[in-house]
Amino acid sequence: MTRSLPRIWAGGMAIIVAAQLAWFLSLGTQTFSQTLFALLWASSGIAAFFVSFLSPRGKVAMGLSLAVPAAMLIALLNYGYQLIGHASDFPGLRGAMLLFAIALAWNGAICGIGTAAGYLLSRTGKR
C-alpha cells in the first residue's frame, strides 16, 4: 500500500484536532473529564507515533513536525474561547503566546516520545 506523506501528516493532525476540539466541546457541555484531559495532551504523541510509523521516509521529521501546529492550535482555541466570552488563565495575546510556548514544549517532548516509538516499531517490523 502506497501512502503519501501529506495524507499521513494530515491524518496525524486529524487526531490532534479531534482531541482538542473534543476538549473544548466538553467545556461547553460541561462533560470534561480526566480522560479527555489526558487525551488532549497525549494526542500529539499518539499522532506522532502513527505518522512516524506509517511514513515511508522522514519518520522523525514527520513525527516531530506535529508539535508546532498542535501548540498553535491549542493556543488559537484558547484565544477563541476567550473571544466568545469565557475566562482564561492565559488571557490575551500575551497569554496565548505563553500557552503556545508551554504547549510547544510539552508537545515537543510528547511528539518526540511518540515519534521514537513509531520509528522503532516500524524498524522492528521490517526485520
Partner: protein, 556 residues
C-alpha cells in the same frame, strides 16, 4: 357659683321641718355637706315636675341661710392625705331608670356604672377615714343622663390600696343628726343635668367616720350649677404645616385660658406621645432632638377643677437632612473620628483600649444631638442591644477582646485558641469577616497544563471573593470553581484588605511562568500581611519552592 349651706345649723332646721319626706333625705345629706357641682353650661333652673322637686331648690334656699359657703368646685385632697391614696368611687343601684354615670376620684381614674332601672336612685358616699377636710369627691356624668322622678343614687368610695374605708358619712333617716358643728356645703342644684358634666362633693370639715350622704330626687331633674367650664387651649406655635429639618428642637407654645378658674397645666403630645408639660403661662416646651417624620401636635389643658380640653391638632413635618460628614480612620481602616462639613467633631471613638472596649463618644460637641455610627473594627457592626460587634460569621465581644463563638473552620488555622481575635494583635491586624484567607490551587483553565497548577487566594470560603495573579495582572480569579480544586487555610491573622493590597503590587508584565508567578505573588502578599503558607504546599514543590530571594526581601 353655688350657694353654701350650713348643714344642721339652726338655719338648716327650718328647711328640714318644712320639707316633704324627700326633703328629709336632703337634710340628711347636709350632715356631710356634700357639694354637688357639674361642669355643664349655666342654664336656667329647670324642674320637670315642679311640685315634687323640692329638695335641691328648697334646700338651697333654706340652707343658704346658714351662710356657710364653701368651695364647690375644688377637687383636691388635703395636704395631710396619705401618699398614693387610691379610692374607687362607685354607684350602687338601688332603683331607678337606666342611667350612665361615672365617679372619678382625684386622678386615680374613674369607674362607670349603669343604673339600669327606672325609679328612685339614691346616692350614698362612703369615705375612707383618712380623708380630711377639704377632700372632695367628683361624680361625673358620662352621657347626657336625665334623672327621673323618685331617683335615688347611691355612691360609695372604697380603698384600693389598703387604706381603711370607714363607712358612710351619715345614716339615712337621721334627720337633724350631726349638729356637732359640722359645716357642710351644699351647692346650688338648679340646672338641668342634661350634658356631660361633673358633680363634686366637697367637705369643708372632716366628716365623721361612719357618716353617709344621701340624696333623693323625687321629681324633676338633678341639676347642676354653673361654673365648671372647661378651659380653652390652642397651639400657637408652631404653625400648622410647619417644616423642620432633623434633628431639631421644636418649641411648642399653647394659649390656654379658663373662664372660671385657672389653668393648672398643659400637656403636650406629638402623635399621641407625651413630649412635655408646662404648669405656668406662657405654656411652652422645647421638644428636643426631634427625628425625621410627620407629627401631629396637640395640647391638653387641665384647669383647677380637673376639666380638660384638647386643642386642635397641628401637623408638622420634620425632614431628614442630607449632610456631608468626614470619617477619619486609623491605619487599620477603623473609624476613629467623624467631623461635619464645618469641621466640628460629631463622633469619635478613641483607641483608649486595644480591643475596642471603650464606648464611642456620640456627642463630643455636647450639643445634645447624638451621632450614631455602628461601624467598629473593619467588618464589625456594633449592636447596642447586645453590646457585641457583629462580624459576619461571628460576633466579637470587646469586653474580653475575643469572639463569643468559635472559629467555624475549627483548628485548621491560626492557633489553638479558636475564639481569639487576630491572634491578640488588634493594633496590627483586623478580621473583617471573622474568617481566614485560604490559598487555593487548581488546574489552568481552559487548558489544564500538565504538571502545573494555578494559585489564588480565596477569602471567607467564598468563590466570589478571590484574588489572583496572571499575565494581565491581579484581579478576581477567572475560574475559582474550576476542577479539581483544593483550598488550604493560611496561618496567621487574616487581613483581607492587606492581602489584596499587597497582591496588587504584582504587575502583569512581571509575570513569569516559572519564576514570579501566581503562587509567588500570593505568598509574598501573605508574608507581607503576617500570614504564612507552607512552601511545600505550593504546586510543583520543590521545583516551585515559594518565595524567591528577591520576593522575600520585597515582602520585608
Amino acid at each position: 357659683m353655688s350657694a353654701g349651706i350650713y348643714a344642721q345649723s339652726p338655719a338648716a332646721r327650718p328647711f328640714a321641718r318644712a320639707a316633704a319626706p324627700v326633703a328629709a333625705f336632703i337634710a340628711l345629706a347636709m350632715l356631710t355637706a356634700p357639694a354637688f357641682a357639674q361642669s355643664c353650661s349655666p342654664v336656667e333652673p329647670r324642674i320637670d315636675s315642679g311640685a315634687g322637686f323640692t329638695p335641691f331648690g328648697a334646700n338651697e334656699q333654706a340652707l343658704a341661710r346658714g351662710g356657710n359657703k364653701g368651695p364647690a368646685w375644688e377637687w383636691a385632697l388635703g395636704a395631710d392625705t396619705e401618699a398614693d391614696q387610691k379610692v374607687q368611687a362607685s354607684l350602687d343601684w338601688v332603683s331607678g331608670r337606666v342611667y350612665s354615670w361615672s365617679l372619678v376620684n382625684s386622678g386615680a381614674g374613674s369607674e362607670v356604672l349603669e343604673i339600669r332601672e327606672a325609679g328612685s336612685v339614691r346616692i350614698r358616699l362612703n369615705y375612707p377615714s383618712g380623708m380630711d377636710a377639704g377632700n372632695a369627691l367628683e361624680l361625673r356624668v358620662s352621657t347626657n343622663p336625665s334623672i327621673g322622678p323618685d331617683t335615688t343614687i347611691e355612691a360609695s368610695l372604697r380603698s384600693l390600696n389598703g387604706h381603711a374605708v370607714s363607712g358612710s358619712l351619715a345614716q339615712s333617716g337621721r334627720r337633724g343628726q350631726s349638729a356637732q358643728a359640722l359645716y357642710y356645703y351644699f351647692p346650688r342644684l338648679a340646672q338641668g343635668f342634661t350634658a356631660e358634666g361633673t358633680v363634686s362633693l366637697t367637705f369643708p370639715k372632716k366628716p365623721p367616720t361612719g357618716s353617709r350622704v344621701q340624696f333623693t330626687v323625687r321629681a324633676g331633674t338633678i341639676a347642676c350649677s354653673s361654673g365648671g367650664n372647661a378651659p380653652t387651649v390652642s397651639i400657637t406655635d408652631p404653625a400648622p404645616g410647619g417644616v423642620f429639618s432633623a434633628p431639631t428642637t421644636v418649641t411648642v407654645t399653647a394659649d390656654a385660658q379658663d373662664s372660671d378658674g385657672t389653668v393648672a397645666r398643659v400637656d403636650f403630645f406629638a402623635s399621641g406621645a407625651p413630649i412635655g408639660t408646662d404648669r405656668a403661662s406662657p405654656f411652652t416646651i422645647a421638644w428636643a432632638n426631634v427625628q425625621a417624620g410627620a407629627y401631629s401636635l396637640t395640647a391638653v389643658a387641665t384647669d383647677n377643677e380637673g376639666l380638660q380640653t384638647t386643642s386642635a391638632a397641628v401637623p408638622i413635618t420634620v425632614n431628614a437632612v442630607k449632610a456631608l460628614y468626614f470619617i477619619h480612620v486609623d491605619h487599620l481602616n477603623t473609624p476613629r473620628l467623624i467631623a461635619d462639613s464645618a469641621q466640628k467633631t460629631v463622633w469619635r471613638w478613641d483607641q483608649a483600649e486595644p480591643f475596642g472596649n471603650n464606648p464611642a463618644d456620640e456627642d463630643p460637641d455636647g450639643d445634645g444631638i447624638a451621632f450614631s455610627l455602628p461601624q467598629r473594627f473593619p467588618g464589625q457592626y456594633y449592636d447596642a442591644e447586645t453590646l457585641l460587634h457583629y462580624n459576619y460569621f461571628r460576633e466579637y465581644e470587646a469586653d474580653v477582646g475575643r469572639y463569643v463563638e468559635s472559629d467555624p473552620i475549627g483548628l485548621r488555622g491560626k492557633s489553638l485558641n479558636t475564639y481569639a481575635y487576630v491572634n491578640g494583635n488588634s493594633l496590627k491586624f483586623v478580621d473583617t469577616l471573622g474568617l481566614e484567607a485560604e490559598v487555593c490551587i487548581r488546574p489552568f483553565h481552559p487548558v489544564p497544563v500538565p504538571a502545573a497548577r494555578h494559585c489564588f487566594v480565596r477569602f471567607n470560603k467564598d468563590d466570589s471573593d478571590t484574588f489572583s495573579y496572571d499575565p494581565e495582572g491581579t484581579h478576581s480569579d477567572p475560574a475559582p470553581g474550576w476542577w479539581p480544586k483544593s483550598c488550604k487555610p493560611t496561618t496567621g491573622p487574616e487581613n483581607d484588605d492587606c492581602i489584596k493590597r499587597e497582591m496588587a503590587k504584582c504587575k502583569g508584565e512581571d509575570y513569569d511562568f516559572t519564576g514570579n508567578n501566581c503562587c509567588h505573588c500570593a505568598e509574598r502578599a501573605l508574608r507581607a500581611c503576617g500570614l504564612k503558607f507552607p512552601a511545600r504546599g505550593w504546586p510543583n514543590w520543590p521545583v516551585n519552592p515559594g518565595p524567591l530571594p528577591h520576593e522575600r526581601s520585597a515582602a520585608q
